[in-house]
Amino acid sequence: MSVDAVRRGIPGATLATQLGRRARGGFIVDEWGLDPDLVAVADPVLAVRWDITVEGANQLPNVGGAVLVFNRRFGISEPWVVARGIRQATGRFVRTVGVPDVAPVGPLLRRFGGVVDRTDEIAGLLRAGQLVGLPMARGMRSREQVGRLEVERLEAALDTGCPVVPVALVGRELGRSWRIVVGRPVPFDPDGGPLAAAELAEATRQAAQVLLDESLPTSWWF
């Protein structure tokens, strides 16, 4: 399938071009395993599963790294929702932390932007100018409370000086509609000493909780 066919809008031409590129090995996989072509191919399927609205995406930098700290309840939909929602709103990929390093699940999830849960991994991504999605601990009992936030992971942001942005996710695991609310970056002092990471984690958690309180619908039905 030629580029001309894609330009003329022939149905399936884009998919055929992508498949042809895959057959020739001409696609891009980055050092962490993200495969943008595969994400594009899977996008229609993800669109059927989740309908996402994003608010406050202008808080995210257009270029350069940032840590997006988001709440999760069961933690199944949330990483996909954050990655797809932010990509729709900003055109940038989100590298979600927490992929198990076990085949075949790990390598597959890495193709969609997942990374292993390590501080040096997050630091490397931030140095490379990537958006990193850092989930808080699961809050299975209530969707109104955000979970704990591992302090050590934010040391990567302190080391690289990248902004830490709280994100509230509102939606139900079995539902289709999700809402992402991006807050203002949490200010921090990069030279704040040993307590800086702990204070940053506390401030980020509080900011995410405030965002979630403001974002949750008043009726339990929604």
């Binding site: 090995g25 001409g26 990374v115 630091a123 490397g124």
Partner: protein, 322 residues
């Protein structure tokens, strides 16, 4: 005016490094030692053939030369030109004798050693793109060999009080370098693991040589990752070379490895680890310190499959090569 000692001058990399230094007016004397004779013509370098285990001869040559810069390129990769056991023993013996002797030379100013990103290992949960600050945790015999060389160089540097640059090179492939990975990827049918493969980065042989020469002048104390930007997966590399990827999982690798060995492309553990667990590193610091711009991994793979036509020298007179 600098005297440079190059170990491993008989290899593709060592000979090319010698040629590059021969073109540098700052270098007055170049002495090379290796098990094999140089693979290209050398112009003003002196070469001594030394067995890796012949410590007395190596020590005498090094002390007599009294180098100011030591470029330790003499690393034997398993199944590159020697068997895995010979490679392990030769790498260790060469490092100990040459770097140990160099440490006692009064003129020594800098040591540069060839290492590899295999020293980081690919244990489960290990960082995918380690930088120089990550701890060494090699998970293959070749990675452990390289970590040992780095340790020996570090000890020698401390004894002599000189900076030691450990160049952690990505797997080196190219159209003419003997590399087990290059040979394997050029087979007509290549076994790949579709369920577990992760991306890996490569380095072109010319970029590796340029990095070693640049490191000789940089006097950087510490490790530097030298990696071609970008990454590819095994299946992707095979498809780029118009080869046929054969999906293999689990015990099927035993059969695949045996078949590859029969076809003349034995697969050492570090290459198999690379194909299934990936192998990359953060090379940003080296690009700044050494002012290098290595070829991308995509370009390295493309050149791996590009066969140059043989250039026959044109004779100027009958019977006399030009």
């Amino acid at each position: 005016m600098v005297r440079v000692l190059i170990t491993g001058m008989g290899g593709e990399l060592g000979t090319r490094v010698a040629n590059l230094l021969e073109g540098d007016d700052r270098v007055t004397d170049i002495l090379g030692i290796d098990l094999f004779p140089p693979r290209r013509r050398i112009f003003r370098s002196e070469f001594h053939r030394v067995e890796p285990g012949d410590r007395r001869k190596a020590v005498r040559i090094v002390r007599d030369f009294d180098p100011e810069v030591v470029l330790h390129v003499g690393i034997f990769e398993p199944h590159s030109r020697t068997s895995p056991t010979e490679a392990r023993l030769g790498t260790a013996a060469s490092a100990v004798s040459v770097l140990g002797a160099a440490a006692s030379c009064p003129s020594l100013k800098a040591i540069v050693v060839r290492s590899g990103i295999e020293v980081y290992g690919r244990r489960r949960g290990a960082p995918t793109v380690p930088d120089e600050s990550c701890e060494l945790d090699p998970t293959s015999p070749f990675g452990r060999s390289l970590a040992h060389v780095e340790q020996v160089a570090h000890d020698a540097g401390q004894v002599a009080g000189v900076p030691v640059t450990s160049l952690r090179l990505a797997p080196i492939v190219g159209p003419s370098i003997p590399s087990p990975l290059g040979r394997y990827l050029r087979l007509p049918f290549v076994a790949v693991d579709p369920l577990s493969e992760l991306p890996f980065s490569l380095l072109h042989q010319e970029d590796a040589c340029q990095a070693m020469v640049a490191a000789a002048w940089a006097s950087h104390d510490g490790p530097l990752n030298v990696v071609g930007p970008g990454a590819v997966t095994a299946t992707q590399a095979v498809l780029m070379g118009r080869r046929v990827p054969v999906p293999v999982i689990g015990p099927g690798w035993l059969l695949a490895a045996a078949a590859a060995e029969m076809l003349g492309a034995p697969l050492p553990p570090h290459s198999r680890e690379l194909l299934t667990r990936g192998c990359t590193a953060d090379g940003a610091r080296a690009r700044t310190v050494l002012e290098l711009a290595p070829r991308t991994t995509h370009d390295v793979v493309t050149q791996l499959y590009r066969w140059h036509t043989v250039a026959h020298p044109v004779s100027s007179e009958a019977g006399t090569p030009a």
